[in-house]
């Protein structure tokens, strides 16, 4: 369906986080017929862009190279190789969505808006998917760390009071309920206190 729209389009993805870049790249592979280039290195970025001569540059919003890239585009426009940011004002909502997702796009001036939309919409979807993956991962990591803290607190209680593991856990739980806090908060307090007392 998209084949005729974007055939022959050259898309550069600039992202220092290689994992995210490949998630975007994989998503854009759906757009058959376009060529995709992934640039993960800050060094030599402009030379690579010059060489690739892309129709669209997708770059993560917070990329430290953005000012450098914008400067390059401003200068190259003077050299009659016009590239402008995807800022057709009629498409303000679309840009807003891409900014929210954390991706900015620069496109060759005069490229048809619908062709750009297809690419940017896909990139936004992939960026959002990546962000969700990251959030899941962070949550999983957080849970793991919490369990470790509780385990350490249990061990401290078992050693110092000579009680069993279920008893240690029951004690943490009782204290948590009394003070309406989470078990992990109580566990953290136990671990901190233990460290302060010089173990």
């Amino acid at each position: 369906m998209l084949r005729c729209n974007i055939a022959g389009m050259r898309i550069a993805i600039v992202d220092e986080r290689a994992a995210r870049a490949s998630v975007i790249e994989e998503g854009l592979r759906e757009l058959a017929g376009c060529e995709i280039f992934v640039l993960a290195e800050r060094k030599g970025l402009l030379a690579r862009i010059e060489e690739i001569s892309p129709d669209i540059v997708l770059i993560d919003l917070g990329n430290p190279s953005r000012d450098v890239l914008e400067e390059y585009f401003a200068v190259s426009r003077a050299l009659a190789r016009p590239i402008a940011m995807f800022v057709d004002q009629a498409d303000d909502q679309a840009i807003g969505a891409s900014i929210d997702a954390g991706v900015s796009a620069y496109v060759v001036d005069g490229l048809h808006a619908s062709r750009i939309r297809a690419v940017v919409d896909l990139a936004v979807k992939r960026f959002n998917a990546f962000a969700r993956l990251q959030a899941d991962l962070a949550e999983a990591k957080g849970k793991l760390a919490e369990r470790e803290t509780v385990d350490r607190a249990k061990r401290i209680l078992m050693d110092s009071k000579g009680i069993t593991e279920p008893e240690a856990y029951a004690e943490l739980r009782r204290k948590a309920m009394q003070s309406s806090r989470r078990i992990v908060d109580i566990a953290e307090a136990v671990v901190t206190a233990h460290e302060l007392m010089g173990k």
Binding site: R42, L61, N63, R66, D67, E70, M85, V87, Q89
Partner: protein, 402 residues
């Protein structure tokens, strides 16, 4: 209930006022609660501002004007009701170049360093080589100050030397790798270059223009109108932060706050150098005192003089090779909002200038000026070459420069 404002910034010492307003409770006193979003490129700070991720931002003054005029993207009107500080930037050269053109233990004389640099540029040209300098952004006061200095010393930027964009955190790397031979950047990044032993500070931008306008607090114009009382409260909180900032007994504390991971994520000792006007110019050197390296608070330093915006607009024309337009000049001037600054501070006892515009570079010494509130004395504000900018005659000024 306090009003929330989200403020975008880049990790630079001159982002200090909103940060300290929050940290010392001045924001809270004014019924505000400030959140901060840190980025590493100005394009990102600007995107977040335009698309509502932030309500206000620490912003390069020329970028606020360029955005309003629609350079490189469709125009979006921004307003700057508060100048976050004057100067505070420096020119750092690679050790080899500094040894050639500024072989002193103190800051150089801008004319002498410029003349020596011009000589070096000519010698390199004879061998078909060119120096490359980094600035933080095309639309920055760093770019305009550096270009002003070079041009006045007979070095034509873009023809005799190349000027490229290097984000502040990467200036030291760029000097180390030889990607650039010099740079004009804000603190603490010059001091980082010195500490890494990759460059030497040779000039402060305050030597180029004694009272050069630097970052502003920028907002979307419609947001300023919608939330005017909140923004005025923020202005009052930042003035209180400024008064705190200039007191020597607070310097250590403030450097420590700014150094924190969520703000500049840097070394408090390095940040202290610009706060105290004491810079180490070469690695291992003694600190050199240069007064008003970064100028804050005093002499209504945060007042957005319309003539400052107009000077920046004149430099935009000069270096973008554009013709003067009365309409653009007016739009650029309108970015700076002394009216908002005034209404925020009216009745607080803070000093308020009587005029909104002045002839830049005209004061040779302490001068009393009319004030609307308080007593107003301005000190020397000259350009190093004696140039005088009359905002009523931008074309005449440019004709003399080019």
């Amino acid at each position: 209930m306090s009003e929330k404002l989200t403020i975008g910034f880049l990790p630079l010492v001159d982002a200090c006022l909103p940060i300290l307003a929050q940290e010392h409770g001045f924001a809270e006193e004014e019924g505000l609660s400030l959140d901060f979003v840190r980025d590493v490129s100005w394009a990102t700070v600007l995107d977040r501002l335009l698309y509502g991720h932030s309500d206000a931002a620490h912003m390069l003054a020329p970028l606020a004007i360029a955005t309003t005029l629609g350079r490189n993207r469709p125009p979006q009107p921004l307003s700057a009701p508060f100048v976050l500080g004057l100067n505070g930037n420096a020119v750092t050269l690679s050790n080899a170049l500094a040894a050639k053109v500024a072989p002193t233990d103190s800051l150089g004389d801008p004319r002498l360093v410029g003349a020596a640099l011009a000589q070096e540029v000519r010698e390199l040209a004879a061998r078909g080589e060119k120096l490359r300098f980094g600035v933080v952004h095309r639309y920055s006061s760093h770019s305009y100050m550096l270009r002003y200095w070079l041009a006045a010393c007979g070095i034509r930027p873009d023809r005799d030397i190349e000027i490229v964009t290097v984000p502040p955190p990467f200036v030291a790397d760029a000097l180390a790798s030889g990607e650039v031979h010099g740079a004009c950047v804000g603190e603490p990044w010059n001091s980082v270059c010195v500490e890494r032993g990759v460059g030497a500070i040779v000039l402060a931008t305050a030597q180029i223009w004694r009272r050069g306008v630097e970052k502003v607090l920028a907002l979307r114009e419609p947001l300023l109108e919608d939330r005017r009382p909140t923004i005025e409260a923020l202005i009052r909180a930042m003035r209180k932060a400024g008064r705190h900032f200039v007191e020597p007994e607070n310097w250590q504390d403030n450097a420590a706050i700014l150094a924190r991971a969520e703000y500049l994520d840097g070394d408090a000792g390095l940040i202290m150098r610009s706060i105290s006007d004491r810079l180490v110019l070469r690695r291992g050197g003694e600190p050199v005192h240069y007064s008003d390296f970064m100028f804050q608070y005093r002499e209504a330093a945060n007042f957005p003089w319309v003539s400052q915006a107009e000077w920046l607009y004149s430099q935009m024309l000069r270096w973008d090779g554009l013709a003067y337009s009365a309409q653009d000049a007016q739009a650029a001037a309108r970015v700076f909002r002394p009216d908002v600054y005034r209404s925020a501070l009216m009745g607080t006892g803070d000093v308020l200038p009587g005029a909104s515009s002045k002839v830049e570079g005209s004061l040779r010494g302490l001068t009393s000026v009319t004030a609307q509130q308080g007593a107003m004395v301005l000190s020397q504000n000259s350009f190093f070459d004696g140039g005088i900018f009359d905002p009523d005659d931008i074309p005449g000024y440019l004709a003399k420069l080019l």
